[in-house]
Amino acid sequence: MPHITLVRIDDRLIHGQVVVKWVRHLDCKEILIVDDELWHDAFLQNVLRLAAPPDVRVHVTTVQKTGQQLSSSSNDSHGVMLLVKSPQTALALLNNGVPFSELNVGGLAAGPRTMRLYKSVSATSEQIVALFAIRDRGVRVYFQMVPEERRVDLSEILPARQQQREGLLDGRRRI
């Protein structure tokens, strides 16, 4: 299995921050996008491949097939960058036996029912619950848009909001 250099939650997937900053910073040659919906969209897959820098390979796969896809990836020193659109997908990856020890939260768009967490990261209560579930599995969850910025830990963003978290967890139990 190749080395996973970054696991990032970013609902815009491949965009400026990823292409101009992260790919250069990590000297990344392979991006694996895990998104069940995108897997059915040949047009967008093609656009994402065309939009990546010419020396970067882009694969799109589903949560189920990620392990398989990773084992077929080249095992070179550059490693693979994993991009997902939501915390739930990241959690599903963990549940499907794709191990990672750190999770970068780069961008989540605001929408109805979201609460702003950090810069351009907003999340629904389900997404926040998923982030905490990931953290409880021993993963360091941190917010960082681009490499030159400081990493901000999940616990720095939502420390005093413990109660709110309890509330959220209750919400999950009711569901």
């Binding site: 292409v19 101009v20 967008l44 961008g107 907003s122």
Partner: protein, 538 residues
């Protein structure tokens, strides 16, 4: 130099305008840059050439400046406008002034984050107007509140720092030991290597580095003007692209018909005037109320107002269309304008009764495309076109030539406006196939390769002319004194130390050191080196 209240006010106003939305969307690419800002400040203070040259030197530090998705590595208004004004009024020489610029840029970043956060509030005001179906209200909310805020948060600190700051700087400088002042000047001579190193960290690949060396040698040994070096770089790029086969025949595009479809009687169409109006609104106001909550979402809705007014009649339809476009949106505004063209085409179909064009369909096209196009766009506009033209402009400006900023503004604006217009209209004409047409035309890759070569050549020359420091070490061996710089280093390769520093910083950046750490190292090296007399400026 004395500064009057009037001059300080004008500079404060200029600092606001430099980051404002009023320059056809090219403001961020032109007046925001220290090369242009310094020239404007120089004009206000009565010495346009001095201002331009200081601005050019400041801009060299920020040559690798790229802002993506609301991240900002140092604010260029504070660095450029306020830095130039402070330097000129306090009577600092250019290198000493440069050492002031980095903290100013960081202060500006903090204000930028504040602004991006507060602007989120105005989007909710726009939401209220959207619910009432008021296109004018949405447009006004995109424009005025954020611009007034910007005027306050940039203008007031700018006035205070410029008017009162120079005296403070002078009195601090008077207290600081001469050795330290000399050391700060040293740091100023080394700092442009950080900007060039940052640019290299995303433009350079080892296989293209000979072109960087070429530019460097042409400047050091032949002393060629930067414009000539740029033309030689262009020739090298053209030869490289032709002879390495990078210029492939474009892939044959799949047969695709324009998105117009069969013209039916009932089809609702936008007019050419609507299209131009919408495009101009996007070009000019895409970042007017840029905010962390929805980034360019309000800008997008504003740009769609002429389209919405043409296609929909009832208040409910207008309200729902405004709401549809007030969601999160962010892309590189020029290459990404293809998304707008596609969206207009989809809105036409929807208004003509196509049931499959739901809110979700429009949204998924927008949100699916905005990311990839931002990646391509940022690499092209911020990563290639801007630094290359800037390097050229800075080179000219350093020779005291006003053509530096003027040529830069003209070429940059033409490139940006051209790209924006082209992609917008392509998007409308072809629908979402346009994205593949734009990306797949087989042009992007050779263009990037060629532009990188041209860029590396010019930047190599810039490394030779902007990074300036030398060794003052002398070793006395018996009766002879050997001066390390003139007797040893210069006989191997002139400009060896600046070249080494630039490459070293590039290497450190690829080893994942942060730019700020590197800047601190440069400060330490410059101050310590001067203190012990190892290094000197010039």
């Amino acid at each position: 130099m004395e500064i009057s209240v009037g001059q300080a006010l004008l500079i404060a106003l200029a600092a606001y305008l430099g980051s404002s939305t009023w320059f056809l969307g090219v403001g961020y690419f032109t007046v925001y840059r220290p090369l242009v800002g310094g020239t404007i400040v120089g004009l206000i203070l009565g010495d346009v050439v001095a201002g331009m040259q200081l601005g050019a030197a400041i801009n060299a530090i920020y040559l690798g400046f790229i802002s993506t998705g609301g991240s900002l590595p140092g604010d260029l208004i504070f660095a450029g406008y306020i830095g130039t004004a402070l330097g000129m009024v306090a009577g600092l020489d250019a290198p000493t002034a440069l050492s002031l610029v980095v903290p100013l840029g960081l202060l500006g970043s903090a204000i930028w984050f504040f602004r991006m956060t507060v602007d989120s509030l105005f989007v909710h005001w726009a939401d209220a107007f959207a619910r009432r179906g008021s296109t004018r209200g949405v447009a006004a909310m995109n424009l005025w509140p954020a611009q007034v805020l910007l005027l306050l948060v940039y203008g007031i600190p700018a006035f205070i720092i410029v008017y009162y700051g120079s005296a403070a700087v002078q009195s601090v400088m008077a207290l600081v030991p001469a050795k330290v002042v000399e050391g700060l000047a040293m740091v100023g001579g080394m700092l442009p290597a950080v900007g060039i190193g940052m640019l290299l960290s995303y433009m350079a690949q080892w296989r293209l580095m000979p072109f960087f060396l070429l530019g460097f040698l042409l400047a050091v040994y032949l002393d060629l003007p930067v414009l000539v070096i740029a033309l030689l770089g262009l020739i090298a790029a053209a030869l490289h692209v032709q002879y390495t086969g990078a210029l492939r025949t474009p892939l044959p595009l799949q047969e695709s018909t324009p998105a117009e479809g069969p013209a039916s009687e009932s089809r609702r169409r936008v007019t050419r005037r609507d299209m131009l109006g919408a495009w101009l609104r996007w070009l000019t106001f895409s970042h007017a109320c840029y905010n962390y909550e929805r980034l360019q979402g309000l800008g997008f809705a504003h740009s769609m107002t002429p389209i919405i007014r043409r296609l929909y009649d009832t208040k409910e339809e207008i309200a729902s269309a405004l709401k549809r476009h007030l969601v999160f949106f962010n892309t590189e505004p020029n290459v990404g304008a293809v998304v707008h063209g596609v969206t207009v085409a989809m809105e036409e179909e929807r208004a003509s009764g196509a049931a499959q064009i739901t809110d979700e369909a429009i949204n998924s096209v927008k949100s699916g495309l905005m990311g990839p196009l931002a990646g391509v766009g940022d690499s092209l506009t911020q990563g290639l076109i801007t630094p290359i033209l800037l390097a050229l402009g800075i080179g000219l400006a350093q020779q005291g030539n006003l053509a530096g900023p003027i040529l830069y503004v003209l070429l940059e604006s033409a490139a940006i406006i051209g790209i924006s217009y082209f992609t917008w209209m392509e998007g409308y004409r072809w629908g979402k196939v346009a994205v593949e047409r734009v990306l797949e035309a087989g042009l992007l890759q050779p263009l990037t390769e060629g532009a990188s070569i041209l860029g590396l050549t010019v930047v190599g020359a810039l490394a030779a002319t902007t990074v300036s420091f030398s060794s003052k070490l002398a070793i006395t061996v018996g009766p002879q004194t050997v001066n390390l710089q003139t007797d040893v280093l210069d006989r191997i390769l002139r400009g060896m130390l600046p070249l080494t520093l630039t490459l070293l910083i590039w290497w450190m950046l690829t080893r994942k050191k942060s730019p700020l750490t590197i800047i601190l190292i440069v400060f330490a090296a410059g101050l310590v080196g001067t203190w012990f007399g190892w290094l000197g400026w010039g």
